[in-house]
Structures are given as structure tokens and as C-alpha cells.
């Protein structure tokens, strides 16, 4: 059983789906549909998750203790009792940070070799 005492780097690299789900929980706890919508908006429609894929990822992330169910809920009049909210664990935060760092290093290497396409003017 993976525990919080594990080294975050052992789980890298993350799949795209795992990464984006973790990132979407970076600023606040969300429920499933909220995660889906946030990712879609943030990636400008590039990544549209299907419910099956989303919940399999959530299930696995819960398993790996990268996320947990959140006790924080919005105002009662906006809330739906059936919805479950998820948030990052400390370990999860560490893992997604490590992955982001890894990605940044990868980008820098590519840029140094002038492999990146030109930025739009």
C-alpha cells in the first residue's frame, strides 16, 4: 500500500489524465463534474474527459492516496448532498509538483535546442 512516506518521484511520470485531474484540484476541492468542466475549460477543449475515464482515474488516485474526499462543502443552498468532493492530499500535492517540475525541465531542454515552435506573435 503506497503511503505518504513514499518518495513522490517513484510515481512519475504521470499519465496526462492523472496530471490534469491533480492540477484541477490544485486551487480548490471539486466534485467529479466540476473537475471535468475545469479541465475542459483550462485546456480550451483539448482534453474532454468521459465519465468512465474520469472516475477510473479518481478511483486510482484515491487508491494511491494522492487525493481524498473533502469535508469542505459549498453553501447548503448550492449543495447537492449526493455529490462527493475531492481534494489533494499533501502527498498528492508533492507528486503533482514534482511532475510539473519534470515537465518544465523537459521544455527547457527542448527550448535550448530550438525545438519549440515559435510563439504566436
Amino acid at each position: 500500500m503506497p503511503g505518504s512516506s513514499h518518495d513522490p518521484h517513484t510515481l512519475l511520470p504521470l499519465t496526462e489524465v492523472f496530471y490534469e485531474v491533480l492540477v484541477s484540484l490544485g486551487d480548490t476541492a471539486r466534485h467529479g463534474y466540476g473537475i471535468l468542466k475545469e479541465i475542459e475549460e483550462r485546456t480550451a477543449g483539448r482534453l474532454v474527459l468521459r465519465p468512465g475515464t474520469l472516475y477510473r482515474a479518481i478511483d486510482r488516485l484515491l487508491d494511491l492516496e494522492l487525493i481524498e474526499e473533502s469535508g469542505i462543502r459549498p453553501d447548503p443552498d448550492q449543495d447537492d448532498e449526493r455529490r462527493r468532493y475531492y481534494q489533494l492530499t499533501d502527498f498528492g500535492r508533492a507528486v503533482v509538483g514534482a511532475e510539473a517540475q519534470r515537465l518544465q525541465n523537459a521544455v527547457q531542454s527542448a527550448r535550448a535546442k530550438q525545438l519549440m515552435p515559435e510563439r504566436a506573435k
Binding site: 468521459r50 465519465p51 468512465g52 475515464t53 474520469l54 472516475y55 477510473r56 479518481i58 487508491d63 455529490r83
Partner: protein, 891 residues
Amino acid sequence: MTSELRHRSVERWYRRLLRLYPRQYRERYQTELMQVFLARHQRISQKGLMGGLLFWLDAVRDVTWNALAVRLLSSSSRQPESPSGKADEKTAAGVLHDLRHALRILIKQPGFTAVVVLTLSLGIGATTALFSIIDGVLIAPLPYHESDQLVRIWEHDTKEGRVYGNLSPADYKDYQSQNSTLAAMGAFANRAATFRTPDELQRIPVQLVTVEVFDILGVPPMLGRTFRPDDLEFNDGNVVVLSNGFWRTQLGSDSSVIGSSVRLAGSEFEIIGVMPATFRPFSGDPQLWAPWSLVDDDRRPVHFVRSLARLRPGATVTEARTDLMTIARRLEADYPDINSGHLVTVEQLETAMVGEVRPALLMLLGAVGLVFLIACANLANLLLSRGVSRQQELAVRAALGAGRARLTRLLLTETLCLALLGGVVGFGLASVAVRVYVSVDPGTVPRLGNVQVDLSIFLFTLGLSVLSTLLFGLVPSLLASRLNIARVLYGGVRATASRKTQRLRQGLIVTQMALAMVLLLGAGLLARSFDRLMRVDLGFGTENLITGSVSLPGRRYQDPEDVVRFQQNLHAALRSAPGVIRSGTVTFLPLTGNSSTAWLNILGRPPWPDTPPEVNIINVSGDYFRTMGVRLLRGRLFDARDQRDAGRKTVINETMARLYWPEEDPIGQQIRLGPNPESEPWEIIGVVSDMRQFGLDSEPMGASFSASSQETWYSFRIVAQLDGQVDGPSILRDAVTRLDPELPVSDVMSMSDLVGDSVARPRLSLLLLTAFAVTALTIAAVGIYGVMAYSVAQRKHEIGVRLALGAQTNSVLASILRQGLFLAAVASAIGLAIGYPAAKTVEHLFFQVSPADPVILIGVLLLLFAVAAAASYLPALRAIRIDPVQALRAE
């Protein structure tokens, strides 16, 4: 559907889809999955039908894929709470595990997989193709309202032995008014009418029907209406109902045709209705229907009426038969000189339409079933030997805790994968085969338009695949899973087949060969039968003869002399055309089954004890006899002396001469034709050799020929003899058109095509059965080879020893061949025991061939032994090449 209902329906369907997930997973996430799904569904609900469809496809894919992943990859980390959930999960996970394993194994052994899938796909494909044809032709109900209540009615002329004869108008009306078992009875007749398309003049088939017929069929028209009783009164009967095909091809599917008119046979007809595309004619292939009335026709001795009726609710065909038979007997008593011997035949419409092909189709189904069984037997053999060679792997699994049930399930899953693969490929092959066949069939099989390879056929294929799994997979799997673990893993014993397995394999081989023999027997007998059929002396030549039909319209040829003149000019035109040797005309060509008959009375002889015999009456002009290659046996043919006022002259055929003047010369004798005792007699001037008027397999009837110059018919066939490769059809058409541009020539074909058509059905049966028999034999041969090769490999050690001890290679060869031939001998005995009775049941499909035909029997036996010997020979060769030293060393 309101949006509330739609919402609930969507929910329901998605919930069903979610059942693919393991129960435990569902308990955790079903609510959320549902919420997210519904939220997404809400967003796309404006995208229309296509958008909705794509969305659902995507949802199905999403759930299926992820559910599979969850099941396959579900680790032990999520411990289930309830014990029952555990077993559930384990089984589900186990099955999927078996599936992955099975697919892996099959991919790793492409050769084996390919052979199995190919053999299976041939067996399943052939069975599926034939079944789909049978489904469309025999099983699917006719496209009429309550079609099992529809019957056809014919006159059964017991004197002439004609079971499906036409009724007379008077008889028809009596049946109609006196019956108590029919709700309605109608009459029809098939005719042809000239129709001018923008390109040419055609003769198209038209069906005359009394008012009741469309009501009896119970199929409403797509446009307009069908006939009413007053159509004949007020419209002079100048109305027509169009077939869907005619409406599409000739009138461009114009939906406003009702009320417009169409020109047929030189007159205008108002279009009052169009039938739907799903409507199929029950007789012939009419393009239009016209109304018919027999109200004013009370003739009893003339027979041209065909009848269709609907049973009263609750009445059966048998009751109708009895009912009408009673009326027939009454008519016999009331009109003894006309109706004596005239009974009635009543049959369900369906039997009438497909009854002819049913025996042949069922025989073919039996044959293809045998091929399927042979393929399964072959595969069982293959799997048995594989099971033996996998004993090591299975023993390891068993040692790790897999019970016998588990091992069996593993092997069965492999077999099921193979079977499903074979089924899918087989289904594809069947679809193609059926489509090809339907497009090339020359009209041998009725109702082919109804045949389609669709979902129900696919389910049939699926069922066959599963059945084949059980047939060829179950026993090998059971046998393979029964191992002595210790013996296999530690005993160092080579994987060998148990005695039981060997016996089973040999038993399978014998079964295969026996079944193959049955098929070969059937094919052989059919081939002989077909050969006999083709050797039948037709009585006329078929080479280089072209024929075409014309029908001269009475309005433009009012005087019979006009017709005679037309014929004379036609013969002159044809003779002068390059490439034409001679020509003639005739009212009824041989082999077409068409004829007109009349009573024969011979002057100077006492009258017949009851109804006089009938003879064919055929009218000819020009050089007909010589054109057809018919020989003059006595007397002379028609010539310029035989004019209308010169006393009626007739030429008779050999059969007629033999039947009625066995001891004397018929030349100069006088006969009377027809019921009228005052009619002018005919003098016999010549005797010609016989021609077969009906099919190849029916005996010729007496025939009396008359000359067109003395008795003129308006519809006839032209025959012309060509001297080589010229464009016969064009020459014929040109000659006619030059004489009369308004006259179409129809049914233009060569005489050899005409003959070909009459044997099309037996030829087809023969081709298919031969194909099945050859396939079966090939599969069986492969099977024998497999078993023999395996047996040799098993006995390597023993053979090596024998060779080392100085045994002659020949004796080794002989012992192996003996083994193969022994199996063949047993198979032959079984094959004959099954085959002979089977052949006897379909004896009526053969022509002049007995099921015990020694030539065929011996031929088939020799073939079987030869194949068995050849299939054993290769492994035998390999056996004698065994290096004794190697064999002894390998231990």
C-alpha cells in the same frame, strides 16, 4: 416523448450500461457517474439525431473500455466486504483473464489459429449462406395478409394425368358459387402487351385479374386504388394498376400518376393505382394488372382460367379440398361428356410457389450440415492433439491450484474464441456468397428477392459457432484437463495420448470419412443423373438456332391472309439475309412446356369408350421442320398445295403414329380434332420424328401439326437457322421491323439457351452438391493426414527400433498405409449404411439413376481409398526417413 420521459429513459439505459462494472465499483461510483453523464447529455441534447447517436456510441465505448480495465486491473487493494461479492468478482475476473490468455495463445500460434478459423469459417459460412436462402424462400411468410389462408385451385385431369391444369370458365363459376369453405375466390391469367418505351417497343407481362383478387391478397396499394366491380362497366375495363417496379422505371416514381394514362397494345389505359415495393406477385412477374371478367363466358370445354382463393376463417386446406372435390364429382355427373375425369387440386399458395424447390433446398441443407459436422470433427481432432502437447503447461497450472473445472473453462474459452472468429469470418463469407448468388441466379429459385443476410441470420451464425464449440471443444477440453500431475511434471514421461484419446481420434476420422462418403455418393448419383438428362434425345437440333416471339395485333391484321403474307415475307427476308440458312414459325416451341391440346377422333373407328385422348396441336409455317432438324419419316411435309380451300392436311409425330396406328400406315387416314363432330376432318400427309414438348424428363406426347396457310394463329415464334457467328438477334429484329415497324420481337434467344434454362435447376443442385462433396473430402483428407502424422510421430521410437533391427522400409510403409486403409474400410461400411437409405429418400431428384448404381458406388469407394492412401503416404514417407540412431537416442 416529453423531456421528462426522455430523461428517465436515458437514465434507465445508462444505468443498464453501468452493469458492466463490478458490483463493488458500482456501489461506490454509480451515482456520480450518472450525474456526470446526465450533465453531459444535457449539453448535447440540442445536437440532433446524429449528434445523439454519436454521443451514445461514445458513452458505450467509454463504459465498456473502462469497465473492462477496472475488472482486469482490479488489484487486491480494494478488499470487498461481502463474501458473495468476492466469488462474483473472482469469477468475472477469472473469465476475463481466460479471455486475455486465450487471445494471447492464439496470437502466438498464427498457423494453428489460421487453419482452425479457415476450416470453421468454411463450414459455418456455407451453412449460414444456405440457411439464409432457405429462410427467405421457404420459411419467411408470403407478403400477403394472413398468407397461410391463401390457396391455389387447379383442374386435375385424371385422364391426361395433368394435376395442375387450367379451369374452364363455367367450372370456375360453379366452384365459386357452390363452395362452402372459401371466403372469396378469384381468377387470373398471365398475358403480355406491347408497350413503347422511348427506346424501343417491348412486350411486357400483364396479369388479368378478376375484381376479387386484390382483396383476397389483402395488400393495399401504395397510391390510388385497386379494381372495383364497376371498372368493367363504366371504364370499359380500360384501367390498370401498376407494379412498383414499372412505376419506378417507366414513370420515374412520379407520385401524381393516378388519373393519367398509359398506352398499351395500342389503346389508352387509365392508371388507377400503384402497388407498394414490398408487394410480390404470386404468379409470374407482371408489370401491370388489368381487370378481367368471366361473367359472360360460360364455356365448359375450354381451359384457360387460373384461380386464387382465400379460406373462410377456421376452414382448413383439407376441408376446402373435400368441399371442391364434391363439387367436381357433381359436375362430372352433370356433364359426363365434358367433365368426365376432371377433378380438382387445391394447395396452399406457399406450397404452390416454392414447393418445387423445397426438396432440393432441404437436401442441400442436409448436405451442408454434413460438411459442417465434418469440419467440427476435424477441429476436434486438432484440439485433441494440441491438448496432449500442452500437458506440461496444464500440469503446471494444476499444480498451482487450478481445479479441473478451471482448466476445462480455460480450454473452452480458447475454443470459443476460435469459434467466434470462425463465425465472424464465416458470416462475412456467407454475406458475399449470398449476394453473388442472388445476382446471378437465372430464375431457378423463386422468392429470391426475399433473401437477405441480416440480424436473425447473424444470430443463427452465432448459435452455430457456440454449437461448434460444444461439438468440437467440449470433449477435447475435458480429456485434456484430466491429468496426473505428478506423472507429467516429474515422471519425465513424454507427452503421449492416452489410449482413450487415440481411439477417439480414430473414431472421429472414421466419422469424417463416412460422412464425406455420403456426400460423394449423393454428388456422384446427381452427376450421373445430370449426364443422363443431357443425353436425352431432344428430337431437334440446338446449334446455331435463334428464336424470337411475335404477336400480330388483330386490328392491323384483320384477315388471316395478312398473317400468312407477313410470314411469307418474313421467310423471304430472312433467307436473303447474310448468315441465315432457313427459317420457320411455330406456335409452341418444344421444351417450353407450352401447348394447346385437342381431342382426337379417328374417322372410320368406333368412338372412344369415354373421353377421347388429347394431342398437342401445333401450327407451323415456312421451313420449320428442316430448321429444327426434325426428320421426315413417312409421307411429305407441307408445301404450296396446302392452301385454305384445299382440304385440311396434317403432319403427325412419331408417337402419335405409334400410339394410334401401330400396325398400319397413318398416311391418308382422316382425323377430327376437337369436340365438334361436324368439324372438317384432317388428312394425315406425313409423319415426323418426335420433339420433347415439355421438360427433358417427360415423355413426348402425340402431336398434330397444321400449316399456317390453312389455319392461322396470330401469336407465334420465329426460328431461324444460322450458318456461323452472325448477330442472330439483330438479324431477326431487323427483318421483322422492316416488315412492320410497330411490331416488337420479344424473348429473343438461342435454342441452346432455351435448353440450358430447362436444366438450370438440376445443374445448380449438382454444382452445389459437388462443391460440398469436394470440400468435405478435402477436410476429411486433411484430417486423416493429421491423425496419421501424429501417430507416426508417436511411434518414432518404435519405428526407429524396427529400422535399426533391419526391418525393410517397405514393411514400415506398408504397416502405416494399412492403418490408414483400415480406417477407410470401416468408414466405407458406415458410409454405405447411411448413404444408401439417404439416397433412396431423395431418389425422385435423380433421373434414370438408381441409388444402387454400381458404377457410382465403386467409383466413390475407390476415391475414398485413394484419398486415405495418399493422406497416409506422406507421414509414412516421413516415417521411413527416421534416423534410427536419433530415434533411439531421444528419450
